[in-house]
């Protein structure tokens, strides 16, 4: 274990060192960069709430990558699955169902999960039945989701012509607030994602389904010989991954935006890849990994205002981090690909 997690501080250090040197060459102070990064995120209650809110999404999109990867599958479609989940939740939330109280919220979340898992299942079907590599399948499904949702939010589901967003959802579909501080708050979506991350770890290590997932990921041939339905397991893990991403979208809609617009994700779905691998594709470890990435994401605006560096600088840190992780986790990958 010790050897396995040693790469995480090394990767983080490398990412910050390279970015720091790059900043220094360009006349920005790397010290100020680190200082603003932490004070704007962990330095105030508002910042902490923002980090928590973002980490809820990141945990779920991280799980959407981590769970399928344990079965040897690469789900790049988290972004599309999340967008569809968010749209479904927004549409159900805008229906006049205030009379059913909290079930309205539940309906929204279920709709989000269903839409996300449908998109994941589609990738799973294409992979298992038609032999379309899941990376290409999910990338294509991402584009279909982006373009279709873009059309729908400007067209059929638009609140008013050309606004590019759907109607606001009713208050009965709001996610209950967990902590509030001044104008900032965070919903119980954080709790849900934390519980789900731990719960999926238990599923992975303590149930038949989890065992099959890991077996298929370690050695598909041996699994098939042992009587595991490899195709079905792959199909269901991709569906489960899609469900996690769909839930992320539903939480964002019901807990944060209370409406849907196509650009709301800002690439958080793709950050799931960084989260999953930073957490070694262990479901519970997506929690610290998501907090790390959320820290970066929460401070981008402050970096732009206080340091004067463009906010894209956090993508540099993240990109280097992902490349480092890709390099340092190679032993695990070699085992998985056999």
């Amino acid at each position: 274990m010790g050897k396995r997690i040693a790469f995480i501080p090394i990767s983080l250090f490398t990412a910050f060192a390279v970015t720091g040197i790059f900043l220094w060459i360009n006349g920005f102070s790397p010290i100020a960069f680190i200082r603003i990064l932490f004070t704007s995120s962990w330095g105030s209650a508002t910042g902490i709430l923002l980090v928590l809110t973002k980490s809820a999404l990141l945990i779920l999109t991280g799980l959407a990558v981590a769970i399928p990867f344990r079965a040897g599958l690469f789900n790049i479609g988290g972004e599309g699955q999340m967008i569809l989940g968010a749209l479904a939740a927004a549409l159900i939330g805008a229906l006049p169902l205030q009379c059913i109280g909290v079930f309205h919220l539940l309906l929204c979340i279920i709709a989000g999960i269903l839409c996300g898992s449908l998109w994941g299942a589609l990738a799973g079907f294409l992979k298992v039945q038609r032999g379309v590599h899941e990376v290409i399948g999910t990338i294509m499904l991402n584009f279909i989701a982006f373009k279709a949702v873009n059309e729908l939010t400007f067209g059929a589901f638009s609140a008013d012509a050309g606004s590019g967003r759907t109607s606001f959802i009713h208050e009965s579909a709001y996610m209950p607030v967990l902590i509030t501080h001044g104008a900032a708050d965070t919903s119980i979506g954080v709790l849900i994602s934390f519980i789900l991350a731990v719960g999926l770890s238990i599923v992975l290590y303590r149930t038949w389904f989890g065992f099959e997932i890991r077996a298929v990921g370690e050695n598909p041939t041996a699994s098939r010989n042992a009587g595991i339905a490899v195709g079905w397991t792959q199909f269901w893990t991709l569906t489960l991954g899609g469900a996690c991403a769909g839930l992320a979208g539903a939480i964002e809609t019901t807990g944060v935006n209370h409406t849907f617009y196509a650009r709301f994700t800002g690439g958080l779905g793709f950050d799931g890849i960084a989260v999953a691998f930073l957490g070694l594709c262990e479901p519970w470890a997506t929690i610290p990994a998501a907090l790390t990435i959320a820290t970066l994401r929460a401070s981008d605006r402050a970096l732009q205002l206080d340091l004067g560096a463009p906010k894209e600088i956090v993508f540099m840190v993240e990109g280097i981090l992902i490349i480092c992780i890709a390099i340092f986790t190679r032993r695990r990958n070699e085992r998985n690909s056999e």
Binding site: F22, N26, F74, I76, L126, R130, G131, V132, H133, V135, I136, G137, I139, M140, L141, F143, I144, F146, K147, A148, N150, E151, F154, G155, G267, F270, I273, A274, F277, A309, P310, K311, E312, I313, V314, F315, M316, V317, E318, G319, I320, L321, I322, I323, I325, A326, I327, T329, R330, N333, E334, S337
Partner: protein, 310 residues
């Protein structure tokens, strides 16, 4: 207007104009697809094409903006793409990283560094100022059919046709291409034959980056004349999908790119003619079609056997 004149107008004007618009849209895709062909046929998954296109697009605009010469810009763009290819090659081959994760890292890193350098070099956020673009070729204005079909195009499009023919020639008619493809099928055998597998793979991934970089330059320096953050907008992924739809063969990938470009152009033109058809809905069609083709023609998805394995 009676039906006869309408038909004439469609045949003589609309169809060639549509094909022309489609070919223009296909060009950046094809550059990246050709790049992907080198890398993937040598056995290295290159999902970082998107990032390599993006850095190429930016570097080309930066080069052209700083020197005033678009050809220097093109060269800088290609070099930047090649540099990113080298990073991917180092990660994937030297340090044996997971190639998909490394590629996604390249994409995100490219998004970050282009946004940062855009601010440093042009003091701009979002969009760069206009720079000198690669000159376009006009001509044959009074020839109804041919002028619509062929003009205008930029000199980069001619280069693209050369690159396509050259790639096909290299792949199937030279020892270099044969060995490169063999590296992607069975590196052990190639090694046993005394060929340096690493060299071929490094060369392939760097060439792949250079071509994707030129594809980015095509977008920013030939189609328009400025850079905007994230302007590749997933074209690298589409190019990869086109390559796979084409069964990892450069010639077939070119047809798929042309089809995808034409479908996109059709979506835009349909809305211009029939305002009731939503253009954004038509943009979905190429992707749906590509997925259906992949799902239907199973044998097309026969990837190089050693792809992603080291």
């Amino acid at each position: 207007m009676d039906l006869y004149t309408l038909l004439i107008s469609i045949c003589l004007h609309e169809c060639p104009a549509l094909l022309h618009a489609g070919a223009l849209k296909a060009a950046p895709l094809l550059w990246a697809s050709l790049g992907g062909a080198y890398s993937e046929r040598s056995g290295v998954i290159n999902i970082g094409l998107e990032g390599m296109m993006l850095i190429g697009a930016f570097a080309a605009v930066a080069g052209s903006g700083l020197t005033g010469n678009p050809w220097i810009g093109l060269f800088v763009g290609a070099a930047a793409g090649g540099l990113f290819g080298l990073i991917h090659a180092l990660a994937a081959l030297q340090w044996k990283a997971n190639q998909i994760v490394s590629g996604m890292g390249i994409n995100i890193f490219a998004l970050g560094i282009t946004g940062f350098l855009l601010y440093r070099i042009f003091e701009a956020r979002g969009n760069s100022p206009e720079v000198t673009k690669i000159p376009a070729v006009h001509g044959w204005e009074d020839v109804p059919f041919l002028s619509d079909l062929f003009f205008p195009f930029s000199l980069l499009h001619i280069l693209l046709l050369f690159a396509l023919c050259f790639t096909i020639f290299i792949f199937y008619r030279t020892a270099f291409g044969l060995r490169l493809r063999a590296c992607g099928e069975d590196p052990e055998v190639v090694k046993a034959a005394g060929v340096n597998v690493s060299f071929y793979r490094y060369a392939a991934v760097v060439i792949s980056g250079i071509l994707a970089g030129i594809g980015g330059a095509q977008l920013s320096l030939s189609d328009v004349s400025q850079f905007s953050v994230g302007m590749t907008n997933g074209r690298g992924f589409v190019a990869l999908a086109a390559l796979i739809c084409g069964g990892w063969r450069p010639g077939r990938a070119a047809w798929v790119c042309l089809f995808l470009g034409t479908a996109e152009a059709l979506g835009e033109r349909l809305t211009a003619v029939f305002p009731l058809i939503p253009s954004r809905a038509c943009q979905v069609l190429p992707f749906v079609f590509a997925l259906l083709v992949l799902a239907y023609k199973r044998e097309l998805a026969q990837q190089p056997r050693a792809l992603g394995k080291l």
